[in-house]
């Protein structure tokens, strides 16, 4: 894997975007905004933030959504998918053509692309699949084979099943109620799909528990995973420090990294999934932390990736696990806020 052109990335812009369409797509909404400067800079895996509620809104935090697609029409449009979770997303769903929104993007680290043609498995939970289709296009341009594995609670919550079937070499669908594809979760089918597709690399986006299981399973076969995480964000640009999770750096040191600027795409094995929602005792700057020797840091790196049963605090376990979505929400909405989102 290589980061490709990631280093040469043009920065995000804050612009006024004009709503072109808002439409229902099964259980979700898809909004298309005319925002040429955002579209021109977009690379798959990146997201936008939107201010919601108008100038006198009581909702102060921006909402983050991964970009589903960009198109050249009207100078450049950006499309994203969302579910109505609260007042903020309800307000968005009520927007109409020609309404103007304050939009910032594209934000975050995109999916890195393989240097050589590879067999790529794209795994999405719920509308976490939204950013995977633009990625699929880029991968195919590079001669990669693209397989899809999409799942959700029910058939109407599998975003893009038809597109996946039409454009993927293979497309495997799972639903928890069995209303579409096979009954179960994406992780139930992962083993089988990896073997049949001879997968070289996995790209995944969806709820944290799904990403954790995919990383663990892929690790057994030594398959790299690029996982787009969803953490609650307030700003999306790297200043608020709310969206952090423990990530092991190339120096072997765990840092509380911001999913908005250091992510949302992380290498799966670098995220300490079992410690998400906690401050690991050996994290950079944790209570009692002190600089260690290089050797100690390296030993720690080895521990960090293999030791999976590190305890979570009671508090983090009290976080909501919404049934029917396979985890905390249904993916895609990177800034899913538990309050008024």
């Amino acid at each position: 894997m290589t980061l490709g052109e990631t280093e040469a990335q043009a920065g995000p812009v804050q612009v006024r975007g004009t709503v072109l369409t808002v439409r229902r797509v099964d259980a979700y909404y898809a909004m298309t905004l005319v925002a040429p400067a955002v579209a021109a800079r977009f690379r798959p895996g990146q997201f936008v933030t939107l201010a919601v509620g108008g100038p006198d809104t009581s909702m102060l935090l921006s909402r983050a959504f991964s970009i589903h697609d960009v198109r050249p029409d009207h100078g450049g449009t950006v499309e994203f998918v969302f579910a109505v979770h609260g007042r903020g997303t309800q307000w968005l769903a009520e927007r109409r053509a020609r309404d103007v929104l304050d939009v910032t993007g594209p934000l975050g680290r995109p999916f890195p692309l393989p240097r050589d043609p590879a067999s790529c498995l794209l795994v999405g939970g719920g509308y976490g699949s939204a950013p995977l289709f633009a990625l699929a296009g880029k991968l195919r341009d590079r001669g990669c084979k693209v397989d899809f594995l999409l799942g959700a609670a029910s058939g109407d919550r599998v975003f893009g099943a038809l597109t996946a079937r039409r454009t993927g070499r293979t497309a495997t669908i799972t639903t928890e109620d069995g209303s579409l594809g096979s009954r179960g979760m994406v992780t139930d089918m992962l083993d089988q799909v990896i073997h049949e597709a001879r997968t070289d690399v996995i790209y995944a986006c969806g709820p944290m528990p799904m990403l954790r299981q995919i990383t663990a399973l892929a690790g057994r076969y030594d398959i790299p995973v690029q996982a787009a995480v969803e953490e609650a964000m307030a700003c999306g640009i790297g200043v608020c420090m709310t969206c952090v999770l423990p990530v092991i750096g190339s120096d072997g040191i765990t840092r509380m990294s911001r999913s908005c600027v250091d992510g949302p795409v992380f290498r799966g094995e670098q995220v300490r999934w079992d410690d998400v929602g906690t401050i690991p005792f050996d994290a950079f700057g944790a209570p009692g932390w002190e600089p260690r020797s290089r050797r100690a840091a390296q030993a720690q790196a080895a521990n960090g990736s293999s030791e999976s049963e590190r305890g979570k605090s009671g508090l983090s376990q009290a976080r909501p696990v919404k049934p029917g979505h396979g985890g905390r929400g249904s993916g895609g909405n990177l800034g899913k806020q538990n309050h008024g989102s």
């Binding site: 102060l60 921006s62 640009i237 200043v239 709310t242 700057g285 508090l315 538990n338 309050h339």
Partner: protein, 325 residues
Amino acid sequence: MAVDLRAKLGHIELPNPIMTASGCAGAGRELAQFMDVSKIGAIVTKSVMLGPRSGRPTPRMAETPSGMLNSIGLQGPGIDAFLQRDLPWLLSRGARAVVSIAGGTVAEFADLAGRLSDAAGVTAIEVNISCPNVEHRGQVFACDPDASAAVIEAVRSRARYDIPVFAKLSPDVTDIVAIAKSCVKAGADGLSMINTLLGMVIDTDTMRPHLAGLTGGLSGPAIRPIAVRCIWQVREALPNVPIIGMGGVRTGLNALELILAGASMVSVGTTIFHDPSACMRILRELEEELTTRGVDRLADVVGLAHESRVATGRPVSPHAAVRRK
């Protein structure tokens, strides 16, 4: 004619009164993607501590009506990284750096002031004695006049003489004027108010506190009237002490309200989270509001609300509209 927006931060003159609020703009780098950081009065950095700090577990944030709770817990890489990376960057962009410092002990605050004084280019120090996201309420120095004074005295004695020291106060006290007086007596060149208020949200689905850290600091327009009240009270008691006002400023009009209450400078915080270039917009709006009101000098309206009880329009109170030449 353009309004004279120059503002005084202690003895230092700033081109205009709009600044970022500590903790809402990192060290300026992220915002520079959306605005020219040298165009606003100053960048007030996220509080810097001596060592690296991981902060509190997630969830760290909850949206509340016209506000938000945060429970970050002062995450940051520490003073070494700040001096090596962030301060030089700010200076290279032509920005004025007001460095917020936080510590667990008086000695830590003093050490930080010393380190910053050795580095060139620090415009002012804002002493964060009021972060609510610490393990013990007893660590919130700004809740106690003596503890506040001890920190400010130590910082003032270690900071270079020409770097103004501002004490950042908490509104979560019975008598903010007593704390303010104590800080000024200990050598503070000015006061910043207000920090966030301690708040809490319970998730009615999980029936548990929403924040991993249980409590968090409330910010946003929800607290603006409290900021106005605190600034008013302190200005009334200490008319000659410069105040950096902050608390729920979303528009130029909001900034003007804090200025009328007595703030010479205004910091913009939570609004940045949904509008990364908010500081520039608020600066533009403030200038428009002043023009509309026929005001040609910002300094003329600082604390002006205090004399509105007098109908003559002429400053009769000694602490009204102090003119600075």
